[in-house]
Symmetry: D2
Subunit: 376 residues, 4 copies
């Protein structure tokens, strides 16, 4: 089988998840290329070597520009903090590399547009890793909506709730600084929620956002006896209207005590409705308005049947999969998209769409007023 | 509207539930008679008068035989401990009264048969109050089975679990004495479970039972500094085969810490399955094997639609009802049965069937062997 | 026991629920007065007599002013459409009657203020029937918050979702006309949600609202072959900030296919969190941040223990209650409040608070801007 | 790091799950050896090579005896049908290999004893792969029981329910033949359930079993136009007593329409209780009797905290894992046990214990009588 060579930028949480995906892809699926884990790139040489040994990356490198310039590399996999996405992605595109980019896409719409322009100009395959789309239960939700099973959509009710900032001793790190993170949960969690809303409902036509800081000062990560200012919101709540007439709400927070990683939506339409929650990611709850009045109720669908997308590659019915499996599905689809040349979603177009919505939300958060969103 | 006069025997927990049922029947339903709450009968005159004033019973009486002999009484409502059922029910039948009898039916099959014979000979309407049959969600389960929605039944998995005996200080009362209670949870809880199994699956052909005492001595209710022997089992577990070929299991216990009144069943058939739990009594979970593979899953049916049995008399969809409502439904159906003259279920025939199964279970509990059950 | 005489205005859905509450109050509780169901008032004499016979109202009357002027009446129970509340409540207050008033309180803040002023001037006991406060699980939520069990509150996430307007054939009735209903679900459902937010979190400091019409024309109830315009919103979504710094969201809709009467909230605080849903009203889900990391999780509390408020009056642990029981609790507390003379909540003050929030939401719905709320 | 060489026997469903486990072990954990996937052994050379290429086995071999005799192999991993376990395991032990053996252990107690004797005589590390013990939620259950959190155990209520035989067209394969499978669900599913009962409650002192065939003839896999007899039971239900006095029940079936792979238990003790279900494997439901009466309820514990066993090696809190992860945990613990030399559980001793219980159940299934179980 034809080989394809990957360079991974970043080796923290996302670096692990991506490495696992490249490694597992050929074991459970039959992608059209054999992915070769060629080089991993980061700042700390010693850590990097340990990481490469563990995951099977053939080489390590501390200069990301050198990696991008190598002729033998086909794919640049960006698993870096958001503020480094634009520079690396644009360079990768200019070098003609296919790009697998972690989310959030960019810190500003201007960055986002520049990234998209570079990728389009280069004609490379670009992918933005909103992994939840490739959770089988979400794939089923998409299919049911496309098949008209819930009819015209009236409501999207989304939330992405975590709780790690409830602890006042959690220090200020890059996720709490505006220049590195873009914003708070609006960016980190909201980008996922907006992507799912785009995927399952469609374009936004306006947005209203309300944010808040609950704890404004925290210890500095680099000097814990000193305190610094939290520069981003602690929670951001949004209302929206969609181009198709549906109403939406999205709630993002790092202060929802009791929720670890609750990414959830409810969608109500004229013919049915559905709900999903990432903490219980193998299930979709689906209500069909076509069921008789006496036996209608939310169906608790365990999305592990052979007929469900991606599932047959794993285990028999009733055997659930976990968080990292969505990354494997993304890698497999990405390799197929490179082969087919037709692109895949979500991609840098979606990155622009999402960043536009989030930037409008930031504007509304300041003004308290509803903000219109023009389609990119 | 024609009046019908009731005498209630007993004024404790079940006396309250029955009084409420007679009182609510005409407010929410349109039974064919106006039930007149004429006389309540018990041992303690003072308590009795308080009870009568509260619930609207016109008279009180301490001699149950005197009540049964009154010409103006049409219905004897027996809400007494089990060991008093046979004598009172037989006398009531001989006096030509219709009988609304609380469960468990009787302490022995011999008693049960005598009660049935008396009622049949007298030609009166007789009802045995296994109230769970008239919970709307259970009524829906029955309808779905009768309509063939789950096909041929393979499995009944039932349990009735309470926890009030986990406390070692709970004293010995009539429920822990063999002569008054018949047996332990096998009788009190098992009679309900067996009745639902009869209702939803059919006759038993054999039974195997294993019982156990976890705490054998407890304070005496009448003299708490002394201890006495618990005379009945603390838990009783059963396996069974049904005449139609299904397998069954029933678990009854008063030692299930965390369960208050969990009366639950799972039924699996060739075309579907369903589960129910009294602690969440307004819902039936129904799985239809006819749903497509991708969208099949247990439907969480909130049984509060106008199309559901009994429900329309109460509140709009989504407004749930409680424990006592099943008693109201029983009273309404009982009055209709008297009017129609055709009998209703469960009745004294069912009392015999249930007592036969429980008596066989007691035999098996002693021997450890499977016991066949002949149909009455 | 001292008697207290009631006149009920209205005999539809709420008339039934209130009649049941007066009737059940003395059976399960021991209020300080014996409530006498003296007279029910409505427009249709024949219907009214049938209703009175069924529920035990001694007299019927078609002129509500005549009823209010009667010296023998102590309590006016208003179970009329919203647009009739102000006139009747003010007259009742001026006649010195205690007032038990159904929600929504009023159609405008001006009406609401006039009602409060009249009641305060007359010195009568006034109650606004937001019945959900007296659901035992909500009472437990309140107690836990007051006891500090969830600490400082960060988030209120509420929703009241129904689905009866998904059917395009549902005709235009008083609930879809602005002059009779005030607004759409914002008023009908939002008043309940705002009341619970007031009760459990506190005053609002600002609100942002987005509304929408999904179906704008419907058959006229009085002439079904003709269509008329829906005058109120089909759904209304709100964001808010509370005076104590918490963020809030409330979603109200009649277009949530699959939801019958889902009135739900999530509350997140620094020490814990909780969720509740009216469709499963006997349970509170409570997360305690004080539990060890390995065993922390939402507790599924079945609120049927003797220690839970109101519960001991009904049935043993594990036996649930239904929708109408909250009305009984309200009647019992109302009678006690009359006896004690100290008032009760929610009352006409709360009616003003709620109406102020809803009116601000209406303003925001039009403008798309955040609206400040001054405390009344 | 020191290497350790593995030979895998079998390359079907379990071959995949084991290969994945060996492959993932060093990526997420730090076992004391580097496992080298040296050779995979099976009957079909072509299939075998494809499998080896996919999973990274260095060599293939069709003669299992040749593999066992190789000096460079340290571990024999048996992923074959049950009837091949005894011969291969005994040979592996005699060759001094450590043994990682898939379940069910053996087809008879005699086989089981011979396997244990061989392993013990050889002094090798032996492991029986009842993988559910190493699901983090089950590990938490074990810890809570050992810490006394549920006190003295009264009840074990277990079930393992699948539905793949509801389809009458499912052909007769090795799982439906007595000589290859030992028995039906009693063996395949019951062995898992009995192992968890051993692990969490302790030894059985007696057992009663009732089995049944629902469909007795099915198409032959090798000649689908012909039918053959199903040689094993379709469902097997058990009651038991444990040496510590607890009562138990276990239900195993392949006819539970709607259940894919529901392996579930409820455990009730004097101080608390817990429930678990493999279809929702990342959660443990735990009821603590020490919680106050007003706030006690089953805690829905998402077992993804860093403090939970095995979890920290994977992803952050709230990110669930799947079915195959338990196999990785087993491999890691197995490598550690080889290093430490102290053995691990479950092992071949447990294999004997389990087979003894299942064989007694088979006896009881025939006789209908309770059968005592002596401890091995």
């Amino acid at each position: 089988m034809e080989e394809i060579r990957i360079a991974l930028l970043g080796h923290r949480f996302m670096g692990r998840a991506h490495s696992n995906a490249w490694s597992q892809a050929t074991k459970f699926f039959d992608p059209p290329f054999k992915p070769v884990m060629q080089v991993v790139c980061g700042r700390d040489q010693a850590d990097l070597q340990t990481f490469a040994d563990r995951w099977g990356w053939a080489e390590v490198e501390t200069d990301w520009r050198a990696v991008i310039e190598r002729d033998d590399i086909d794919i640049i996999d960006i698993a870096l903090p958001t503020y480094l996405h634009a520079e690396t992605a644009i360079a990768a595109a200019e070098a003609g590399k296919h790009i697998f980019c972690e989310k959030p896409f960019a810190n500003t719409s201007a960055e986002a547009r520049a990234m998209l322009a570079a990728a389009e100009k280069a004609g490379v395959t670009h992918y933005l890793n909103h992994n939840y789309r490739r959770c089988p239960a979400v794939a089923l939700a998409k299919k049911l909506i496309d098949d008209g099973e819930i009819g015209e959509i009236y409501h999207w009710r989304g939330a992405y709730q975590q709780s790690w900032l409830v602890n006042p001793d959690h220090p200020i790190d890059w996720k709490l600084r505006k220049d590195t993170a873009g914003a708070g949960p609006l960016w980190d969690l909201g980008s996922h929620a907006v992507d799912l809303a785009h995927h399952l409902v469609g374009d936004f036509s306006n947005i209203t956002c309300q944010g808040k800081q609950f704890i404004s000062e925290r210890p500095l990560a680099e000097e814990p006896t000193k305190k610094g200012n939290v520069e981003v919101e602690c929670a951001a709540l949004m209302l929206s209207e969609f181009a198709n007439g549906a109403l939406g709400s999205i709630e993002t927070t790092r202060y929802a005590t009791g929720r670890r990683n609750r990414h959830t939506f409810e969608i109500y339409g004229s013919e049915g409705s559905m709900t999903w929650d990432m903490e219980d990611m193998n299930r979709l709850h689906f209500y069909s308005g076509k069921d008789p009045a006496t036996t209608s109720g939310y169906r608790d669908i365990l999305v592990t049947q052979r007929e469900h997308e991606y599932v047959n590659a794993w285990w028999p019915p009733g055997h659930i999969i976990g968080y990292e499996h969505g990354f494997v599905h993304a890698v497999v689809d990405f390799l197929q998209a490179i082969k087919d040349g037709g692109g895949m979603t979500p991609n840098f177009h979606d990155g622009v769409r999402i960043t536009d919505v989030l930037e409008a939300a930031l504007t509304s958060m300041d003004s308290g007023n509803r903000v219109s969103i023009e389609q990119a």
